[in-house]
């Protein structure tokens, strides 16, 4: 990842209105490329039944491991299924895992980080020690170990990614809350006698969210990479569902005969991760007051 969650943690991010933010993002060339790529993959995922030329699970044992042709643009796999259709359908799994696991992780992380940062004291201490402990494990290894414990399957992978992913969000939000809660308007809210929870959710939270947007983009990319890595190693979606990592795993064994079988799904994984990293990079620059106005990075 070009930007890690550690990098945005505790960094003062000024609040920007939506319009200047969008303008700053659109000025950042790489993030525009990222947005276009993400939209393309999203369209692939949503409209897969209309875009795919064949049923992705339909086998044809007379057409096994064929190279690209007019009928099958990317060729066929080891049981004669159309590769292009499987690659298009594979976008569904990647986007699903990326978005769902990041949403869960962000939700848990924001809630815990907000409470830890605002309340401070023992709660804060305990939460920070827990995040430090979880952060000793890289995503992939944690997810693999959990897959061994919970069994393979897409939902278990989502659970494992969320279970580790919340820590990054919690730390970012906590760092922001520590800065925001000292600001005069929070004092003012306290002075007029607002309840703790009203201040936390109405005043502190909305003003601490900016860096979370960056983290969301990075985490979706990391989740997609983790899912495809676990699928590549053999723990992922159940057959016959198409997933890029799984295609690559099978394609790899036929590398010499049909190189496209591994090149195509791998390229899609790379593009998806790249797109979210580009966007995350652009968002970070757009939100960083020191870099704003300098245009390209």
């Amino acid at each position: 990842m070009p930007v890690t969650t550690e990098q945005i943690e505790g960094r003062r991010v000024s609040q920007v209105g939506w319009r200047p933010l969008v303008r700053a993002i659109l000025r950042h060339r790489l993030s525009v490329v990222g947005i276009i790529l993400i939209m393309m993959i999203a369209i692939m995922a949503v409209f897969a039944p209309f875009l795919a030329p064949y049923d992705p699970n339909k086998q044809n044992l007379y057409k096994v491991l064929k190279g690209p042709s007019k009928d099958h643009w990317l060729g066929t796999d080891n049981v004669g299924r159309d590769l292009l259709s499987r690659v298009i359908y594979g976008a569904r799994i990647s986007m699903y895992v990326g978005i769902v696991s990041t949403t869960i992780a962000a939700f848990i992380g924001i809630l815990i980080g907000l409470i830890a940062g605002y309340r401070g004291g023992a709660i804060d201490n305990i939460v920070m020690r827990i995040t430090d402990t979880f952060m000793c494990f890289p995503f992939l290894i944690f997810v693999l170990a959990m897959a061994a414990a919970l069994g393979p399957g897409i939902n278990n992978i989502i659970i494992s990614i969320s279970l580790l992913g919340w820590t990054g969000f919690a730390r970012i939000i906590r760092g922001q809350v520590l800065l925001v809660r000292e600001l005069p308007y929070v004092d003012a809210a306290r002075a007029v006698g607002m309840s703790k929870y009203r201040i936390m959710f109405k005043h502190v939270l909305p003003n601490s969210l900016a860096p979370v947007i960056v983290a969301v983009s990075i985490t979706i990319g990391a989740a997609i990479l983790t899912e495809s890595s676990t699928a590549f190693l053999g723990l992922g979606v159940e057959p016959p569902t198409a997933s890029w990592g799984k295609e690559l795993r099978v394609g790899y064994t036929y590398l010499e005969r049909v190189p496209l079988f591994s090149i195509a799904p791998g390229l899609m994984i790379s593009l998806a991760v790249l797109a979210f990293n580009f966007l995350g990079d652009g968002l970070r620059d757009a939100l960083d007051p020191r870099l704003r106005g300098e245009g390209r990075t």
């Binding site: 070009p2 693999l144 414990a149 690559l248 994984i269 245009g295």
Partner: protein
């Protein structure tokens, strides 16, 4: 400085203790009976007496906190249990494979330096040029490309199309140094790619940060040649975050080794981890998870200490 180091060390030990709890819990939530799963092939499972005997031998019939205390004591003593697959002591397996994985780590670090440093330097000096934009794209591509796919592409290019390197396998250094080098070039390159991209980004941004400082302007105003400004004035302060990346890279290498050793069929710790996960060989999974966490903790500690050494302000906090 000593107080600072002592504080960081104590903190790392606390986290390590919490890690042991987490690892212990993670391995214990495996549904079903790991012993039964492991014995499936070679023992008659209808005979409950044998199953109970084996469970007792591995201490699995005792309360969970007692199991944890015993496990921790044994772990610290170097008794990491025996592999459920082969019956070999896990510690032996670990020591045998550690040098292989370490060699990959060192090689990957070298690649990260060789590629990442010049990329970042050129990017900073030619800031906002077309070249800079291209290098940034290359760097982000480097951190985004899945290592297993990069490995497969390299195998296709350099082992299938042009037969320069062996497609997979590992030859120990003391057996044949030349073949050893040939067998690790591709895997270490793949492992180092991510860190090279990261390093390029860090070098670029930290150089830009330093170049903006007043003392650089003073040096330029005094008429110091640009080459000298870059080489003597900026090099040192710009190194601080760079040191951090190299430290942190080793935590990334761990995940990398799982995939890279799998793709290139290298018998290191990563491969041992993947195999153990598939076989649900929990003494081995446990050991690997601990090794992973210790590696990350050690690297963080090292980076913290180095940071405190390079930047005195850090020590105060």
């Amino acid at each position: 400085m000593q107080r600072y180091i002592a504080k960081r060390l104590l903190y790392s030990l606390l986290i390590l203790l919490l890690v042991t709890v987490l690892v212990f819990v993670m391995v214990r939530i495996i549904p079903g009976d790991p012993i039964r799963a492991a014995m499936q092939q070679n023992v008659d499972l209808t005979d409950n007496k044998i199953v109970e005997e084996v469970r007792a031998r591995y201490g699995l019939d005792r309360p969970i906190h007692v199991q944890f205390a015993i496990w921790l004591r044994d772990f610290l003593r170097g008794d990491w249990g025996k592999s459920l697959q082969t019956g070999e002591p896990v510690l032996n397996m670990f020591w045998r494979r550690l040098p292989i994985t370490l060699e990959l780590f060192v090689g990957a670090t070298l690649w990260a330096w060789i590629i990442g440093f010049p990329l970042g330097l050129i990017g900073a000096l030619k800031r906002n040029s077309f070249l800079d934009a291209s290098l940034t794209t290359v760097a982000i591509a480097g951190v985004s490309i899945p290592s297993f796919w990069e490995g497969i592409l390299l195998i296709y290019l350099f082992a299938v199309l042009f037969r320069i390197f062996p497609p997979s396998g590992f030859v120990p250094f003391f057996e044949d140094p030349w073949m050893n080098l040939k067998s690790v070039i591709m895997p270490t390159f793949v492992m180092g790619t991510h860190s090279a991209g990261l390093l390029a980004r860090y070098v670029r941004s930290s150089l830009l940060e330093v170049l903006r400082q007043d003392f650089i302007r003073t040096a330029r105003a005094k008429g110091v040649p640009e080459k000298v400004v870059i080489l003597t004035h900026t090099a040192k302060p710009a190194m601080i975050p760079v040191v951090t990346v190299i430290g942190l890279a080793w935590s990334y290498f761990v995940a990398g080794s799982f995939l890279v050793e799998y793709v290139f069929a290298i018998p290191g710790l990563g491969r041992m981890g993947v195999d153990a996960i598939f076989a649900r060989d929990f003494p081995v999974i446990q050991a690997i998870l601990m090794a992973v966490a210790v590696n990350v903790l050690l690297m963080n500690l090292l980076v913290d200490i180095l940071y405190g050494y390079l930047d005195p302000r850090v020590r105060v906090h």
